[in-house]
């Protein structure tokens, strides 16, 4: 019976949408680390993405709210800092959903060490495929975007501007 409750809690928690990228669930994003169910108490562990990301408070509130409505009376959401989140933790499903929403998913290159200082001006930035037409002929137009996790690109083939989830 407990295993069933735990599975139900996982399903509810991992289906909560990211408030800033609502096409993704917490499960897709890879920030849901652990759920334990002990003596009627449910403990959910979430990992923040960026240090200052304001979405975490929202996620915490929604996870707690949905689990409480589902009948879990004692719910605690904990922060887990280590190991840090990486864009490589976004699932295959999550990458597909991002691309379908017109946002280029991150490449699989976790940045372990600080990168060397870039010295080339007018560089195109890392090669990112256009989510509209698939061309790799794209150029980075800004290193920071509308949320902490994205930068801005433009496709030179189809001329479409698009967002890209940064590799961290």
């Amino acid at each position: 019976m407990q295993a069933t409750d735990l599975e139900r809690a996982w399903e509810i928690a991992e289906s909560v949408p990211d408030p800033e990228l609502p096409m993704l669930t917490l499960g897709d994003l890879g920030i849901l680390r652990e759920i334990s169910f002990d003596d009627g108490r449910l403990t959910v562990s979430l990992t923040p993405t960026y240090s200052g990301c304001p979405a975490l408070a929202e996620m915490r509130a929604v996870v707690t709210g949905r689990l409480t409505k589902a009948g879990f009376t004692a719910v605690e959401v904990r922060t887990v800092l280590s190991p840090p989140w990486s864009s490589s933790m976004i699932s295959a499903d999550g990458r597909r959903k991002l691309a379908e929403a017109g946002i280029a998913p991150p490449r699989f290159v976790p940045m372990q060490q600080p990168s060397p200082v870039p010295l080339t001006l007018f560089s195109r930035g890392p090669v990112v495929e256009c989510p509209a037409c698939g061309s790799a002929d794209t150029v980075r137009t800004a290193a920071f975007g509308g949320t902490a996790c994205k930068d801005l690109y433009r496709c030179l083939a189809c001329a479409e501007p698009f967002e890209h989830v940064k590799e961290i």
Binding site: P19, P48, G52, A57, G65, L81
Partner: protein, 298 residues
């Protein structure tokens, strides 16, 4: 479900405490084990986290002052993102400081108590963080120095024996790498640009150079904690810092100005709570709402 306001549409859980997206400020270390590790001096650890937290908080505030002042929308977005990353680091570090101090029997201080309740003398940030900038080039000079120094510092801090500090550093390193890249690109662009942009960029370096030696001057607290593998001895970061600056400035066709350091006051500077005249004005703005309405939540 129909919504009367945009806030309701994006916030699923509404109550009087959380009236808008992102206003539910909860302890950023909720559920994290903040016990001071055995063998680590809790008072020193609290003081150290306060230094690093204040650096981030004050630099973030200066960056926020650039909003609606940056030359282009893209740059404004970049500065806002960098400010947000640093504010996030500050929240974690100030909270860690409060938790470590509370275990020494001191009164519990939250991140808000630290940010809004202290007077100037109690802030421990380096003086580099608090300066205002005459123009965008001056900001880029300061951001290059700040992010290069802090990236080197946090890179080493990932090995701290305090797991909380190590985890905050591990996340911060990824963010700071982007900040440094951004500043380096602008220093090169402006330095190796027109006569005017080059003159402004050189002036920016001149403004920031006297504040650099302080970054590498260890306090007694840092020396003690570095010996215990908790902290990083800032003096050890100088070669790494110099190498990065040298690479960027060579590309920017600029030279590092050889200027005397900004003097300490009776041997005291930012880490001792002795700041420049600009700090008072910064805090007056930063703390104005909290002081006008003590205890208010929003």
């Amino acid at each position: 479900m129909p919504f009367d306001s945009a806030y309701e549409a994006i916030t699923e859980e509404n109550d009087s405490q959380r009236w808008a997206f992102g206003t539910g400020f909860t302890d950023p270390l909720a559920g994290v084990d903040t016990n001071v590790p055995a063998g680590v001096d809790g008072a020193d650890l609290a003081a150290y986290c306060l230094m690093l937290g204040d650096d981030a908080l004050i630099m973030s505030h200066r960056l926020q002052q650039w909003l609606a002042r940056a030359p282009e929308l893209e740059e404004e977005t970049a500065l806002a993102n960098i400010a947000l990353d640093l504010l996030g680091q500050a929240r974690l570090l100030l909270t860690r400081s409060g938790a470590a101090a509370a275990q020494q029997g001191r009164p519990v201080h939250t991140e808000d108590d630290f940010a809004f309740g202290r007077t100037e003398r109690a802030f421990r940030n380096v003086r580099l963080a608090e300066g205002s900038d005459r123009d965008f080039a001056a900001l880029m000079a300061r951001l290059l120095v700040f992010s290069t120094w802090r990236l080197a510092l946090l890179s080493h801090l990932r090995d701290s024996v305090d797991p909380v500090l190590a985890a905050v550093a591990a996340n911060g390193v990824k963010e700071l790498a982007y900040h440094r890249d951004y500043a380096a690109q602008w220093v090169i662009r402006l330095g190796d640009g027109t006569d005017f942009s080059r003159e402004r960029m050189a002036a920016g370096l001149t403004a920031v150079a006297p504040l650099v030696p302080e970054l590498f001057q260890p306090t007694e607290i840092e020396t003690r904690l570095a010996a215990a593998s908790v902290a990083v001895d800032p003096a050890a970061l100088r070669p790494e810092f110099d190498a990065v600056l040298d690479t960027v400035l060579t590309e920017a066709t600029l030279e590092w100005p050889d200027l005397p350091r900004l003097a300490a006051v009776s041997g005291q500077s930012g880490r001792d709570g002795v700041h420049t005249a600009e700090m008072g004005y910064l805090l007056a703005e930063l703390q104005s709402v909290a002081r006008a309405m003590p205890g208010a939540t929003w």
